[in-house]
């Protein structure tokens, strides 16, 4: 089975969503711990 463009898009989007959320949360945690 070949990885299709659709598969790549879903894979990338799922990972990107989680990474973006992680970066957002991490930045807020760092910011709030500095207060």
């Amino acid at each position: 089975m070949e990885l299709t463009w659709g598969g790549l898009v879903f894979w990338f989007t799922a990972w990107a969503s989680v990474v973006i959320l992680s970066v957002f949360v991490l930045s807020r945690l760092v910011k709030s711990s500095g207060k």
Binding site: M1, E2, L3, T4, G6, G7, L8, V9, F10, W11, T13, A14, W15, S17, V18, V19, L21, S22, V25, R28, L29, K31, S32, S33, K35
Partner: protein, 523 residues
């Protein structure tokens, strides 16, 4: 109306988390479990591949994250009133004598799930050691490995284990570890465990993911069997399956299990926060950490590696066989065929064990806290009482495993019960206590401003989602299961025994909640 529920009841010394990092790791450890590495990939390939992520992220947004916040609010509010468990917390939200009994369900669910969960957790510990010692290295195929597992479970006397004694030994070891951690308390036990186990879990998972990505095509004789075929199987979307309601249900169910909501465990963890500790960001952090482990790490191990070694058709069969089949049958075979398989196998089962124990101690803590807070028992006595109940009950799970004793508990407590409890707590917080007060509680000391849309989601969408989920589950699954449809005749008495045990546990908890409140009134 009695006013006893509103009386602030302050135990002598409330335990606290030593650090925010410890709290986040402990709460994420509660959420990250066997399901992140086994259940999620199986659900994804069985329900539309990449397209599964559409209902999955919808469920996360409308069900998972709001429920997570709801439980953090109830927990921190209850903690300030001196309660660490759902009965007292619900009574603090709704001054009605029935409130504490609704909360008793939270104690029952976490206790019941713990009873069968520790047994599966002990398999992971055993298999980690078996892997390291090369104990199953001579097992050649899936059928033989399935026989190995059945033999370990005491169901196949012709296999390498003549009796269930080995499984029993690892169960005792797992129980001892769990209760030692609970005995050491919140900061010196649970928090310390999370600070050690969670980084190790990440490290083990990362090593395995890197190994999977560098695996390529392990057998050149089968060029179609590669990890990339595995990723294609996992991520190529099958949009036509989105028209099937069961796919949306599966996604909602997965979000429920993965975040460990609806069980009464998060409430207890949240109750150990300080007065103005942030819950909005902490709740979001634990959900995010869990999603990172599930979507990025959990999805990248078992299924791709199974396709690389067994091919697409066999992996579909394995996935149909369920999560244990994937984790304890196909993965050990993979390790026997890989260089440094003993080490990789130890890491795989080690990470499953760490994922398991950080969840099972979270399930035990509400009962310990209840006995301490509401009955005034010392921690030692509370842990011993819980240990006695779990030890007595798990005997049925071990010795009647072949009759689906655990399946009965898993459906009624670990599946259906979670949704019922989640609906109750959502209605109590957002409708009885009031969404405006709940919103205020959420933002007490918060480092982030939650988008106002979530106020509307928590009040209308989340309960609506839960009612729809419960209605369909009742019609499609609960009623046939209640009638024991499809259960082999010889297993029927054991299924009834499982129900009797659950009713006994529920009755015992309800009575002890009632007695605790009566005792407090007299005091």
């Amino acid at each position: 109306m009695s006013n006893d529920q509103q009386t602030p009841f302050k135990p002598p010394q409330r335990e606290r988390w030593a650090s925010r990092l410890g709290l986040i790791l402990a709460a994420a450890g509660n959420a990250v479990g066997l399901g992140n590495f086994l259940r999620f990939p199986v659900q994804a390939v069985s329900n539309g591949g990449g397209a599964f992520m559409i209902p999955y992220f919808c469920a996360l947004l409308f069900l998972g994250i709001p429920l997570m916040w709801i439980e953090w609010i109830i927990g921190s509010h209850g903690g300030r009133k001196g309660h660490s468990t759902a009965p007292g917390m619900f009574a603090a939200l709704w001054s009605h004598p029935a409130a504490k009994y609704l909360g008793a369900l939270g104690l029952f669910l976490s206790l019941t799930v713990m009873i069968y969960y520790v047994y599966v957790e002990s398999w992971a510990l055993a298999y980690s050691i078996f892997s390291f010692l090369g104990y199953y290295s001579q097992v050649a195929d899936l059928a033989q490995m399935s026989g190995f597992l059945q033999s370990y479970q005491g169901l196949n006397p012709q296999g390498p284990f003549a009796t269930v004694a080995t499984a029993y030994f690892f169960l005792i070891l797992t129980l001892l570890l769990n209760f030692t951690i609970l005995y050491r308390g919140v900061s010196r036990g649970i928090e310390l465990l999370a600070k050690v186990a969670m980084p190790l879990l990440f490290l083990f998972a990362l090593v395995l993911v890197v190994r999977v990505f560098t695996l390529g095509t392990p057998d050149p004789a089968f060029p179609d069997r590669s990890v990339w075929s595995g990723f294609a199987f996992l991520w190529n979307p099958r949009f036509e399956e989105l028209a099937n309601a069961s796919v949306w249900l599966a996604a909602a169910g997965q979000i429920f299990f993965t975040l460990s909501v609806g069980m009464g465990t998060l409430h207890t963890y949240a109750s150990y926060l300080r007065e103005d500790d942030d819950i909005a960001l902490t709740g979001l952090s634990t959900s995010t950490l869990n999603e990172f482990v599930e979507v990025i790490l959990g999805a990248s191990i078992a299924i791709p590696v199974a396709v690389a070694f067994f091919g697409l058709q066999a992996t579909q069969e394995i996935a149909r066989g369920g999560t244990f089949n994937l984790g304890f049958v196909s993965m050990p075979i993979v390790f026997t065929r890989m260089p440094q398989g003993e080490l990789l196998g130890m890491l795989w089962f080690g990470l499953l064990f760490f994922a398991g124990i950080t969840s099972s101690v979270a399930m035990g803590q509400p009962l310990v806290a209840f006995l301490q807070d509401e009955w005034g028992l010392s921690r030692k006595k509370a842990v011993l009482a819980l240990a006695a109940v779990v030890f007595a009950s798990v005997q049925f799970v071990v010795f009647f495993y072949g009759y689906g004793f655990d399946h009965e508990m898993d459906f009624w407590a670990g599946t259906f019960g979670l949704a019922v409890f989640a609906l109750i707590e959502t209605i109590l917080l957002c409708w009885v206590f009031g969404i405006d007060r709940a919103w205020e509680e959420l933002h007490r000391g918060a480092a982030i401003q939650v988008p106002r849309a979530f106020k509307w989601i928590m009040k209308y969408v989340t309960p609506g989602y839960l009612i729809a989920l419960l209605t369909i589950w009742t019609l499609d699954e609960a009623l046939p299961k209640l009638r024991l449809q499809g259960v082999p005749l010889e297993a029927v008495p054991y299924r009834w025994q499982a129900r009797a045990l659950m009713l006994l546990l529920l009755a015992g908890i309800v009575v002890s909640v009632g007695l605790a409140w009566r005792r407090r009134r007299k005091a």
